[in-house]
Symmetry: C2
Subunit: 440 residues, 2 copies
């Protein structure tokens, strides 16, 4: 099974866990059977492999999510990087070219495209398989999944099928309606359009070449910025005559707000927290290292992260966007391909950061124009390279780096260090990268 | 006017702002006219000096509050340090001996004793003055303040006066009653006993010598541990025949719980916080450097500090004690005589702390057995002394100290540094102090 997971942009509706660089799909919030926590993307990746251990999974995403994906999924998952956002048709065309030219997928093979963030059970992946099989059968060029509506939602487009059968031709598509119209669609047997569909790879490549001027993946990638923004629905779906819809009645939840997200949580508390028995329907997600205490609350979600603290009535949590937009904020925590960093302290004249490197990983070799840095290793072993000079390091070692000097750290074991940045003009953009000889 | 402010022990009822070493009276939560925030002890000290600029204020307290008092009040306030807790009679006797032998107060002068933590207006201090004048007049040995009850509280003892006059003899004392009994006392004209009283210094010293075996302040201080615990009420008040009560009808609030404390706050928000207009009767006190967002809450207090996060229905906030006792916690923030420290990060193998020194102040010269330390100066200038070697330091300088080495930092300007402690057995008790030659 070839699956392309569309990993969308950053969102602020789950602040303070999601922010500009940490999209909701990377929040580790779902408890697994072994007691660890996994994110939406980890959960979906695990669920796919449970149904088909041979599945070829490709994440279609932007450059800034690559570090988080590598950190959470390792190196096995394919990544089709959109150099910039150009709406869904170019993104799907790029992923199709990636599958053909980078992963050498046969043009006859079916490809299933779906968003990375719905909360679903195993039956969903069985349905994806059937969707792919139906596309492979060639009875239609495009097979959509139609989700049986749980309520007259205003958030989805609707598909009106020709018949009540499991698979049927599409009679009409309807844009996102108001609630009353949605209810009337549902009475006509309409299904939600969740953005899940399957096609033969060759079909999509033909479409891509028809609408976009490119030779192969490399070429499409290099000229991606020049493409027009065009949606997949507009470019393909609405024009395709050979189109079917397959009905899906299993669990399918969009966890886009705190209200819906907490409904999907197995436990009321993630992280260090206490509540008294006068609390009801309270969820606490605490990512920081001091405790949360809740007393006498009802229908409330509390979330504490390195970025901030939310305390919200669950019904009100969907109204947070304008407030979060007022919070013009330093990124306080980020997952990188080599580990993670957490901002511990911000001063006008400097910043203190805790850096965690995974065993065997290293930072880019880089320099800063406007700040000195001091590393104090607090655990683990590894090597530092400073202006070409290699040095073994372990807990207690101190490395000082003046502005302009090139530096990196290479972790042998897991390695943690405290980085103190000193300078008046500290910015994430003040970074020049250099290549590091492999011999280090 | 001689005023002894009784500064009581640590409390957990205002967690996470109060903790084992930070009592509620040191929380800077009341906005002043110039926009700064002051604590209960700062507020009361300022209010006393506003009424009587010549007032001799003595804080009777335990050793562990001395740093916070010096930090908040400077060097002008007298401090009578109880070497250990021995209940109220020894504490008041010690303060009296301190006034006589250290501050050389005349035995005929009146002394007013009151707790440091009620929330009061200027009229309270006018009343204290009258209380002292009444004691100086010699018409009674002890003059109590009787507070006109706002409601039938179960928290206070009651004083039943002989008459409804401003000053009257005491007819009876009543222990803390239940609500119904309290209501019946109030119908009889009873007043709250708020622990505020005045006496001539000589009277109290006579009582002290009568009941305790000591020669002078020095002697009483040195042998304080050997004293029995005995309350002032039992030792003095209940036995005194020449006793009067002076009625006080002004503002007098005990800010012992979040519910009462937030009632006394001028603003709904202290620190970085946002709330939407669906919130009602919400107070947010945010001492940390990330924002708090509150949506759709009612009658809730939110408090975030370095120690933790409380979100409580205001009525429920008085039930926090058993929960806070479960939280066995590292002290994350403390005010010291020389400035303050804040724990930024805790790892099994080390701890990261931000140290803020006030201009002209210095740490003790000290060493640690079980940890190395690294200081990175992030702002300000000063000197460090490491094993006797003096060095000027400024932002960007790094000082490494192996376990066992003696060290201190002396701030010229305000100075901030990041201290990384490295070691498996980090403890506040791992500290040996040394004298530092004045020449440094």
């Amino acid at each position: 099974m070839n699956i392309v997971l569309l990993s969308g942009g950053s969102g602020k509706r789950l602040w303070p866990l999601s922010n500009e660089i940490r999209s909701k799909q990377f929040i580790r919030i779902f408890k697994t059977e072994n007691g660890d926590y996994e994110s939406m993307v980890q959960r979906m990746y695990r669920q796919i492999l449970a149904v088909d251990a041979q599945a070829a999974v490709t994440i279609a995403t932007s450059r800034k999510q690559v570090s988080a994906i590598r950190n959470q999924l390792g190196d096995q998952a394919g990544i089709s990087i959109e150099p910039c956002r150009r709406d869904t048709f170019p993104a799907i065309a790029l992923a199709a070219a990636y599958l053909a030219d980078v992963r050498h997928t046969d043009w006859e093979e079916p490809v299933v495209v779906c968003p990375v963030d719905p909360y679903v059970g195993p039956e969903y992946f069985e349905a994806l398989k059937k969707l792919g099989d139906q596309a492979a059968s060639g009875r239609a060029n495009l097979v959509l999944m139609g989700i049986e509506p749980a309520y007259p939602s205003e958030k989805y487009g609707y598909i009106i099928p020709d018949s009540a059968g499991d698979i049927s031709r599409v009679s009409a598509f309807k844009e996102k309606p108001d609630e009353k119209t949605a209810a009337s669609y549902i009475r006509q047997g309409a299904l939600w359009n969740g953005g899940v569909f399957a096609f033969r790879l060759g079909y999509m490549l033909d479409k891509a070449h028809e609408l976009l001027d490119f030779t192969d993946y490399e070429d499409l990638f290099s000229n991606y910025e020049k493409l027009d923004k065009i949606s997949f629905d507009y470019a393909v779906v609405e024009k395709e005559k050979q189109i079917e819809v397959m009905r899906f009645g299993g669990q399918w939840k969009d966890l886009g707000t705190w209200n819906t997200l907490t409904e999907a949580m197995k436990e009321h508390v993630v992280g260090e927290a206490l509540m008294n028995d006068q609390c009801s329907n309270v969820h606490i997600i605490n990512e920081i290292n001091v405790p949360v205490l809740a007393l006498g609350l009802h229908d409330v979600v509390i979330c504490a992260s390195a970025d901030g603290i939310l305390v919200s009535d669950k019904g009100q949590s969907s109204y947070m966007k304008p407030f979060v937009e007022q919070i013009d904020q330093q990124i306080m925590f980020a997952e990188k391909s080599w580990g993670s960093f957490r901002v511990l302290d911000v001063e006008p004249s400097g910043m203190t950061i805790k850096v965690t490197l995974n065993a065997g990983h290293k930072m880019n070799y880089h320099s800063h124009k406007n700040r000195d840095e001091v590393w104090t290793v607090i655990s683990g072993t590894g090597k530092t390279v400073v202006d070409g000079v290699v040095r073994g390091v372990r807990a207690g070692d101190v490395i000082t780096m003046r502005a302009g000097c090139r530096h990196t750290v290479i972790a042998k074991t897991g390695l943690k260090l405290i980085e103190v940045q000193i300078g008046e003009e500290i910015s994430v953009d003040d970074k020049e990268k250099f290549s590091l000889e492999e011999s280090f």
